[in-house]
């Protein structure tokens, strides 16, 4: 990775946020179970994205100062639950600071030993393959061990312009 020779004009964080809030994002919960003490850890990301089909890889980024991610990453294997529109409370519970964030959230243990949040649209079981630092975030690249869609069709939770919403198909 090479640094650019052109010094970018200073863009303050308020400006960055006010422009990037025009980009809608899905909302994903990243969770794992601590292999030693058996406790669950979780966090919310708005940057979960598809990456590669062959091999099957996904990606997301996380603030390098996150205290949740190192705990989740310790397990090596983690789950991604794609949140549905009625899971705003789950999003809030996992966005809060503190221990044991999954204690008030319904989840089921997968065959991979990861917590799958009940009521989500789909679940991915993943293994960390690569992590690299980019500015104030860490980019995580993970291989997909398994992926499971929920039965039935529900609408996704979308974060956009500072608010929660969902998807309406264009007529």
């Amino acid at each position: 990775m090479t640094a650019t020779a052109i010094a970018p004009r200073a863009i303050d964080s308020d400006r960055y946020r006010s422009v990037m809030r025009h980009l809608p994002t899905g909302v994903a919960a990243i969770c794992s179970t601590d292999p030693v003490i058996g406790a669950q850890n979780g966090m919310i990301v708005g940057t979960f994205a598809s990456l590669s089909m062959e091999p099957a890889l996904v990606t997301f980024s996380v603030m390098h100062s996150s205290t949740s991610w190192p705990k989740i990453a310790d397990a090596g294997t983690f789950s991604v639950s794609l949140l549905a529109e009625d899971q705003q409370q789950v999003c809030r519970a996992l966005s809060a600071k503190g221990e044991d964030k999954l204690s008030n959230v319904a989840w089921t243990e997968s065959a991979w030993g990861t917590p799958h949040l009940n009521g989500s649209l789909a679940w991915f079981d993943c293994r960390i393959e690569q992590q690299f630092t980019a500015g104030d975030h860490v980019v995580v690249i993970a291989s997909v061990l398994d992926m499971t869609p929920a039965e039935g069709a529900s609408a996704p939770l979308i974060f956009h312009g500072g608010c929660f919403g969902s998807f309406r198909e264009t007529a």
């Binding site: 990775m1 090479t2 052109i6 970018p8 004009r9 863009i11 960055y16 946020r17 006010s18 422009v19 990037m20 025009h22 980009l23 809608p24 994002t25 899905g26 966090m43 919310i44 990301v45 708005g46 979960f48 994205a49 598809s50 990456l51 590669s52 089909m53 062959e54 091999p55 099957a56 996904v58 990606t59 980024s61 996380v62 794609l82 705003q88 999003c91 809030r92 996992l94 966005s95 293994r127 393959e129 690569q130 980019a134 500015g135 104030d136 980019v139 690249i141 291989s143 997909v144 398994d146 869609p149 974060f159 956009h160 312009g161 500072g162 608010c163 919403g165 998807f167 198909e169 264009t170």
Partner: protein
């Protein structure tokens, strides 16, 4: 640099491209046109659903593009681009730029941004970048852009999900329970990421 996990290390999985597409199709995405212009004044563009915010300080963004893209190798040479976050009345522009072939940019109204790259009229936001890193991961390139300029446009964002275009639908807040305080939104998803 290729950072694809080595085949002997990647887990044996029965995830076919069809299953991958079906399940990742449940993830809603914005629709972003990556545009540039070469020395022959040829406008170049491609559409991605993976454009993401990445870092506030320094300001960085990223996107992933399929290795089979014919436009990205041309755009890469310029080492700068504009990410145009498309608005919900730009479906036809999205379709034009998703086509193969050299003529796909013709007739699309645009204005040159500060880097000289085309900003498509009517997009909901413009992010002008220089490429600061690119890595190969699996069947895609992952591109990191350093933001030099950014500005808001007009309209509301176009969404894509499960092969269909759509719009953001605000969730109706249920009528508040009497005596309950009007609680402000807690930590939004993006800042928690």
């Amino acid at each position: 640099m290729d950072i694809t996990p080595s085949p002997e290390k990647t887990p044996d999985s029965d995830i076919t491209p069809a299953l991958y597409r079906q399940i990742l199709g449940k993830l809603p995405t914005g629709v972003t046109a990556i545009t540039g212009v070469n020395d022959d004044d040829e406008k170049l563009g491609l559409v991605v659903g993976t454009f993401q915010s990445l870092s506030l300080e320094p300001p960085l963004v990223m996107f992933c593009v399929d290795k089979s893209s014919s436009s990205w190798p041309k755009l890469r040479k310029l080492q700068k681009f504009t990410a145009n976050i498309l608005s919900d009345d730009q479906i036809s522009i999205c379709r034009s730029l998703s086509r193969k072939g050299p003529e796909k940019f013709s007739g699309l109204p645009c204005t040159r941004g500060p880097l000289g790259t085309p900003r498509l009229d009517g997009a909901t936001a413009y992010i002008d970048c220089v490429v600061t890193a690119e890595v190969v991961v699996g069947d895609h390139y992952m591109v990191v852009g350093s933001v030099t300029n950014m500005s808001e446009g007009t309209g509301d964002a176009l969404l894509f999900r499960g092969g269909k275009f759509g719009q953001y639908q605000p969730i109706e807040i249920p009528a508040p329970v009497p005596a309950a305080p009007a609680a402000p939104e807690t930590e939004p998803a993006r800042s928690a990421s």
